[in-house]
Amino acid sequence: MSITIRNLSSVYNPGTPFEVRALDNINLSIGEGEFVGLIGPTGSGKSTLVQHFNGLIRPSQGEVVVDGRSLTDKATDLREVRQRVGLVFQYPEHQLFEETVFADVAFGPKNQGVPEAELKERVNEALTLVGLDPSAICDRSPFELSGGQMRRVAIAGILAMRPKVLVLDEPTAGLDPQGRDELLDQLQQLHSRAGMTVILVSHSMEDIARVATRLVVLHRGQIVADGSPRQVFTQAKMLMDVGLGVPQVTELMLALREKGYPVPEVALTVEEACAIILGLHRGGEGQ
């Protein structure tokens, strides 16, 4: 299950004075089992791009191929594609509407024609995947839950359709640090244990550095960097020029290098930075 994008351009309001080229000749291939972090400043085209992944927006030019089938091909069943590529929008809890958590999570699979008998299994599985206890929460109204719980119920509603690819547009915005860490851990487990392909749009370099195996950087509708987090975060100056940044521990490494210390250019996590500095400290004592 892969997504391949060839020469994709997307233009809003074509032929009017308000014409905006949101995506400009994008070429990108995402393979099964990747965990891709998609980053870029506001207006760089991230949200437009992810809506092409499951055919919510049709390309102005170029082609999107999901699992071997072109989305521009009239014969392609877009409903089936949307079941395979689950898209979680920004603030997905605003879309909760049912009277109970069960009904809300079951809504997607029910519409796909999943038999009643199987719905319970789907809902239980999806709620468990996002770290909620089905027996405790199924009969409650989604509107009496906390913000972090509502967000997870909304994500469970997508997981209940058993997608192969999960795309999330800023899923941690507005969550407190604990809620954010829990959600990131769950995404990492969906990736490592359930083998799901995950595409995560985020403004937080610290979050992305922790979980993604690959980073794609968008700027003004074009891909300006694509590689492992370690490779991409070595381009600190470029990232800052386009309005992004690097994780704080990477910033620390850069500052130490400027002072002449022999440290790597990038540290992705606090633990890694700790090991680097301890190594330096012990090396200093040895001399």
Binding site: P41, G174, L244, I277
Partner: protein, 279 residues
């Protein structure tokens, strides 16, 4: 009575008929002096936004009392005076902009106050210059970046000539540059204009730039002190569902390994300075 914001035993519940309903605020007492830059942090549901809405009388206490610049928010005749003193900027920039041209949006507040038009003109120019958006006065707001939109929203508040600026998670939806723009604007207004700033945020790297931090949990104030005092309590903050900046967390790990670092390292610059003495 010099405090610009004073709360005495403030409790609030969203549904006061239902005794089962937990209170969003429980006996909060605090006082903020003019010119302070205070960050309020706490997990989702801890009462941060409820507290902020008490400062400009969007909400009034179920019990207890709030005074803003000496005026009690119980006094319903003073609601407009209080909202002019304490201006609030919210999370989503797209929900706060009403006009089709930036300067008309900034004019909206003062126009409603019935201020003469030449004075309004003066206030618009001043407010846009304070947030460094003068060049965009005639632009349509929907074409601005998120950070620029929030700065326009701040200008709209400044045009009311407030004494207090409340930022209720105003950076949550912004990219790193947008967040930086909003933070720099708030810090500059505080330093150069003596504006009292109340910053509500989930981003600890923003909270460390305040001079004082108040931590809320389950509707109560659990910590209130200088930024350094509060952020040196890494374990307690984690128990409260919060976090510390990566360098603060790194300093703690290195201390556990026997390195002689201060527990209150808050920024990359401070960390570099301390490490240079050790390595």
């Amino acid at each position: 009575m010099s405090a610009i914001i004073r709360m005495e035993g403030v409790s609030f519940s969203y549904n006061s008929d239902d005794p089962q309903q937990t209170q969003a605020l429980q006996g909060v007492s605090l006082s903020i002096e003019p010119g302070e830059f205070v960050a309020i942090v706490g997990r989702n549901g801890s009462g941060k936004s409820t507290l902020a809405k008490h400062i400009n009388a969007i909400l009034t206490p179920t019990s207890g009392e709030v005074w803003v610049d000496g005026i009690s928010t119980k006094d319903t005749d003073s609601v407009f005076a209080i909202r002019q003193i304490a201006g609030m900027v919210f999370q989503n920039p797209d929900n706060q902009i009403v006009a089709t041209i930036v300067e008309e949006d900034v004019a909206f507040g003062p126009e409603n106050l019935g201020i003469p038009s030449d004075e309004i003109r003066r206030r618009i120019d001043e407010a846009l210059s304070l947030v460094r958006m003068s060049d965009y006065a005639l632009h349509p707001p929907h074409l601005l970046s998120g950070g620029q939109k929030q700065r326009v929203a701040i200008a709209g508040v400044l045009a009311m000539h407030p004494k207090i600026l409340i930022l209720d998670e105003s950076t949550a939806m912004l990219d790193p540059l947008g967040r930086q723009e909003v933070m720099e604007t708030a810090l500059r207004l505080n330093r150069e204009r003596g504006m009292t700033v109340v910053l509500i945020t989930h981003h600890m790297d923003e909270a460390v730039r305040a001079e004082r931090v108040i931590v809320l949990d389950r509707g109560r104030v659990v910590l209130d002190g200088s930024t350094r005092e509060v952020f040196s309590q890494v374990d307690l903050l984690r128990q409260l569902g919060l976090d510390v900046p990566q360098v603060t967390s790194l300093a703690q790990l290195l201390r556990e390994q026997g390195l002689n670092l201060q527990p209150d390292v808050l920024t990359v610059g401070e960390m570099v300075e301390q490490l240079c003495q050790l390595l």
